[in-house]
């Protein structure tokens, strides 16, 4: 029995990856939930808006690299995020002006706006594929690891190594910063409070003199920031492939709904709930049990509940279970 090695094993393969994957999902889920809470529709273009923002970060990274600009040990992509955010926000505001605002002014039912967002999704997908193509792109540079598995083994003399990628740490730090600023903005500033008021009770917000146009504009700006940062962090950690962003929409929606749709803090925690469930359920525990159980009880199989190919099934199941038993989410949110 060797508990220290077992814990390191779990840290290395479950907890660290789930924390960074959860952060990436959380940013997307807050995007979903804010659009739902304020503009009152499920935005199916979420994933592709993220890939749109990330695409510009990739293109700008290549450009910066060609100019010889870099951040040393940190990825150059961090430098491009502000520019990519500006482009993404402009794109979102343009789409809103020419597509969504028409249905909003007509007071179309939410399901119609959701269908419209599917149209926006296809167009955005096409734009991304025309500009950068459907292939896998790597745009990471700088120092890959903060802690390498071998170094850790040498340092501690344990059998199991703990590898921490710089992108994982960056993801977690940046997510915490972005989310803290967002919550400060929503809870402490006058504009943020007016957005919550608008989301809570639109008619009364109008009676109180809150300008709906301004609220909508700021919502898209926040959405653009979240989409770009979330997308770039995911792309740095794995790689940039337009299709994976579309795929990630399921866990993001699941996270938003688990957390109670319309509730940004719920969506934030929901991201981690989904990430941890996906990884916990698809991890092969054979080695873990080899450490904690006596040799005589050593397992012969992989002890994996589900193959990793089914990780989306996990978020989908959570989504269904939550909708069946707690439609307003774990934290208080709106009922879909």
């Amino acid at each position: 029995m060797d508990f220290v090695n077992a814990i390191i094993l779990l840290l290395n393969y479950i907890i660290v990856p789930a924390l960074s994957y959860g952060s990436q999902l959380a940013l997307g889920a807050i995007f979903v939930t804010i659009i739902y809470g304020i503009l009152r529709f499920a935005n199916f273009a979420t994933g592709d808006m993220m890939s749109f923002g990330t695409m510009f970060a990739v293109l700008l990274t290549w450009y910066f690299q060609s100019l010889g600009i870099s951040l040393g040990v940190l990825p150059t992509a961090l430098l491009t995020i502000p520019f990519a955010i500006v482009i993404t926000v402009l794109y979102m505001l343009t789409v809103d002006k020419f597509v969504f605002s028409y249905y909003r002014i007509k007071k179309s039912p939410p399901v119609m706006l959701a269908m419209v967002s599917i149209g926006v999704m296809f167009v955005t997908q096409a734009i991304v594929r025309i500009i950068i193509g459907p292939f896998d792109r790597r745009f990471f540079d700088g120092e890959r690891f903060i802690l390498k598995a071998n170094e850790f083994k040498e340092m501690t003399g344990l059998n199991e190594g703990l590898a921490i990628k710089s992108t994982q740490v960056l993801t977690i730090i940046i997510t915490v910063i972005v989310v803290s600023i967002l919550f400060w903005f929503l809870n402490k500033t006058k504009t943020g409070k007016s957005m919550r008021a608008y989301s809570d009770n639109e008619d009364l917000a109008l009676l109180s003199g809150i300008d709906p146009k301004r609220v909508v504009m700021i919502t898209w700006m926040i959405a653009g920031i979240l989409a770009t940062i979330g997308g770039v962090l995911y792309g740095l950690d794995k790689s940039f492939k337009p299709f994976t962003f579309f795929n990630n929409m399921l866990p993001m929606f699941a996270a938003a709904i688990v957390g109670g749709i319309g509730n940004p803090f719920g969506a934030f925690l929901g991201g981690y709930v989904i990430a941890f469930s996906e990884i916990f359920i698809t991890y092969a525990y054979k080695k873990f049990f080899m450490y904690v159980l006596p040799e005589s009880m050593e397992p012969n199989s992989l002890i994996q509940l589900l193959s990793t190919d089914y990780k989306f099934a996990v978020s989908f199941s959570i989504l269904v279970i939550v909708l069946l038993f707690r439609p307003s989410g774990i934290f208080k949110g709106k009922v879909l």
Binding site: K190, K193, S194, R196, A197, S199, D200, N201, D203, L204, A205, L206, L207, S208, G209, I210
Partner: protein, 234 residues
């Protein structure tokens, strides 16, 4: 001429006219009750004066200024505050945030106004950081009144402020409304609880099928045998 006046208002929601040639006026420091059976157009009168529906004819004036063509938001800027019957608070926001939102258009420091509201409704100070969704019905109505008072309005319009609250809470709410009146605000309220409403009102209007059937001081109406038999239950 009265301070706030809706003169010979005719209009509805696009279909047939709900109110025809209806006149309602109120002065500062006065409470006016609009009463009448269900479907008489009480709320419609209020919505017309607030600009939520378009009038076919008639004018709305405040302090001698014609505001008939202003949007509800612009009328709010003229000092007209409205408390809807339902969904009149932000349930997901704290009591204090509700008050702050009420004064969204005001640029100056709000702390002083908020303190005045707390003096008027002491319970709100106690619960200032609690979510309004967690308060009782009577407390919510106080939040709704407080929110509307944040712009320091000259006219306060209340749509059934006592709907769905217990009799004790109702008396308490009427006390609060009387306190608001003393701050020299013109108050118009639509009410179902006719007797109680008339007893605190200076004047009342009784609408029947969109027309002003009776009007007079609260006492006159309460003692009028025709009004008693038709609307007050004898």
């Amino acid at each position: 001429m009265a301070f706030f006046e809706g003169k010979e208002m005719t209009g509805g929601y696009g279909g047939p006219d709900i109110i025809t040639s209806c006149t309602v006026d109120v002065n500062r420091g006065e409470i006016v009750a609009i009463l009448g059976p269900n479907g008489a157009g009480k709320s419609t009168v209020m919505k017309a004066m607030l600009g939520l529906i378009n009038l076919k004819s008639g004018t709305v004036t405040i302090d001698g200024k014609d505001i008939s063509n202003l949007s509800p938001q612009d009328r709010v800027k003229q000092g007209i505050s409205f408390v809807p019957q339902t969904r009149n608070v932000f349930t997901g926001l704290s009591v204090k945030e509700n008050l702050e939102m009420g004064a969204f258009l005001r640029k100056e420091d709000l702390e002083k106004v908020i303190e005045e509201i707390y003096e008027l409704f002491p319970i709100l100070k106690e619960k200032q950081s609690q979510l309004v969704g967690e308060l009782s019905g009577g407390q919510r109505q106080q939040v709704a009144l407080g929110r509307a008072l944040m712009i320091e309005p000259s006219v306060l319009m209340l749509d059934e402020p006592t709907a769905g609250v217990s009799p004790i809470v109702m008396d308490e709410l009427f006390d609060h409304i009387l306190k608001v009146k003393q701050t020299n605000v013109a108050i118009i309220m639509v009410e179902q609880n006719a007797k109680q409403a008339l007893s605190i009102s200076d004047r009342g209007y009784i609408l029947v099928t969109g027309e002003n059937k009776f009007s007079g001081t609260g006492k006159e109406l309460l003692n009028d045998p025709r009004v008693r038999s038709s609307f007050l239950g004898g």
